[in-house]
Symmetry: C2
Subunit: 373 residues, 2 copies
């Protein structure tokens, strides 16, 4: 089966790696000449709005998907008219716009922070009167890794924040004092079959994900599943969907969703029976979904900016390196390391995880990390 | 990491598919110009005794392995002098010779059928006096899929059988009246780490494997593990080893071992957290082993001689097709289909398995199959 992907970064690369055993071939439409997925398939080096390139992709591929949501939905829709494409441009249109997304959450009874749309500085002032301070101003589209966001603590922060986000359509949200950041990743197939991964617990620094831990047996697993299930069914969704959640006591507030494979699910490559990448391919290509069981504790440490010595990591007990073949650059995701409990027990796992975090330059996280529960 | 493989058939192909996500590249030394693994790496089309080709493989690769045991150990040994190679030529020398293999079993206290070496027709007559009838005459080397074997039921069968096997060095074994054929597949890493898969139950027809079923929770799992563990440690083995067992009541008799990934372990691709192919690569390349847990019932149906319609199988609930890209030929393994319990329960699984077996032309097996326990 031939799979066309809009995008050619590490998510596309890991899909192609997962697709090898399913006898799938890949073509990437990606404007970056250095697209790191390119060695794993054919690379159409063109912008996403290039209709001729999309025609070529549609002609070659049996099914198409995308690896990130910062593509205007109309560029995806024009491809969708030519080929089976999942998740649909309609799902994308909701997921890529923070206002539509939050309204969708609300309509489905999924709890969120207070939020208000903001199109002008005056809107912002009025909105703050409703949502209170502290709050976060976020661009409706194109945000990732903390970009396009500004924190509002005092009324005098508003004008600078409005300038900082570029005076584009935004939403402002009350800041949730959360106990923990979690995410749930699920897959829905063409026939409506559903599969849920165990919750991930996520740790960010400077707006960038640094660490995810699998949280098998979390007491609110079924609550999280029920929330994402509403979205999957409402959007008639096909593929992998990620939903970021703030845990406050025993409750969840939905932060955002991503209509694609997600960084907080990278641990599933070694930590679950079927990775999120394989299940995304299974879903979009009409195959039965694979088991999402995760029998042992797993974690993922992102490599940001700098790669580490491959041999050291290869020999690190329980660790599997995933290097994306990208050049090192500050703040760039150049790889990740997955760690699984290799039977030594949780204490030894946490010690090894602390060692890996130090290796990745995350000393503060290594020290602060609570023992996995 | 660059991996060199002696052989370029479906086992090499499935290793390469599993190695994609571990960032491994592959080179296959294989005399067959149609080697089905070739699209997944570089193909050195040369005989195994070609020293120049082996030099080239050793220069390119970081580690080497082989996909079948019918290579004279000395051809493997000459490569082993140039590169890390696993399993060792010493392990291969034992595993490829039925006499050395059975003597090794006996030395380690692993039960086997009665056996005697046979170098002449007179030897055979004398041996039968010891092992009794019925018995099986097998060539010491080069046998597979029932080739190089003759069944002895009456004393007058001996001369024809001796002619049939080619009058080469053999062993003769008393025939075991077994309840069930099983196999255990295990991996040992460079550091001595061990991982065992659940037992497989295997069904043959015309000497060729047709069906394997995972047997999680088999009451003799730990017995089987202890038998193969003795072999792994005795041979200082690195990689995947398969041990075929006859179950007689509550006891096991070892039939033979294969120093490689094994057809009876193909269900692990979708049925276990880490496939035998991935674990073989992890073991030989010095990586930690992956989890061998198999959370749900799985089965594998071989496609012998004829491929089936890919779309039908892709849409078959719980099934994943693996086609090797080989041309159809009677008796040839051209692919296999893995089936997993997709949550419908065991009865539905068995119904679907019967359907797949009919699809694969195994009607008798579909009818006779006992419900999975």
């Amino acid at each position: 089966m031939n799979v066309g992907i809009l995008g050619g970064g590490q998510l596309a690369q890991m899909m192609a790696q997962a697709g090898a055993k399913l006898d799938m071939s890949f073509m990437f439409l990606c404007p970056d000449p250095q697209a790191c997925a390119a060695p794993f398939g054919q690379h159409l080096c063109a912008p996403f709005e290039d209709e001729e390139a999309k025609r070529q992709l549609a002609e070659w591929a049996d099914v198409a998907t995308y690896e990130f949501e910062n593509i205007p939905a109309e560029h995806v829709a024009s491809l969708e008219q030519q080929i089976d494409l999942h998740p649909s441009s309609q799902a994308l249109a909701v997921a890529r716009d923070r206002l539509k997304e939050k309204r969708c959450f609300r309509a489905l009874g999924i709890p969120t922070a207070e939020f208000m749309p903001v199109d002008t500085l005056d809107d912002l002032k009025e909105a703050i009167a409703v949502v209170g301070l502290p709050a976060i101003l976020k661009t409706r589209t194109m945000g990732y890794d903390g970009k396009g966001q500004a924190v509002l603590r005092r009324p005098e922060d508003l004008p600078d924040a409005w300038t900082q986000v570029g005076e584009v359509p935004c939403i402002v949200e009350s800041m949730v004092e959360f106990t923990r950041e979690l995410s749930i990743i699920a897959t829905r197939s063409r026939t409506g079959e559903l599969a849920f991964y165990p919750l991930s617990e996520n740790h960010h620094r400077e707006g960038i994900l640094r660490l995810s831990l699998s949280r098998q047996g979390h007491p609110q697993q079924s609550t999280a599943q029920s929330l994402i299930q509403r979205l999957l069914n409402e959007l008639d969704y096909v593929g992998v969907l990620a939903l970021e959640l703030f845990q406050v006591g025993d409750e969840f507030y939905a932060n955002e969703m991503a209509p694609r494979v997600h960084n907080t699910g990278h641990w599933t490559i070694e930590g679950a029976c079927t990775s999120q990448f394989e299940n995304h391919l299974r879903a979009i290509s009409g195959m039965p979904l694979g088991a999402t069981d995760a029998p042992v504790q797993a974690a993922m440490v992102n490599l940001i900016g700098l790669l580490q010595d491959e041999t050291t990591i290869r020999e690190f007990p329980g660790a599997t390196p995933h290097f994306y073949g990208k050049t090192e650059r500050p703040g760039r995701k150049v790889g990740h390391i997955n760690l699984v409990d290799n039977g030594d027990g949780l204490e030894a796992f946490n010690e090894r995880l602390a060692g890996l975090l130090q290796l990745a330059g995350e000393n503060a996280l290594a020290e602060l990390l609570e023992p996995a529960k």
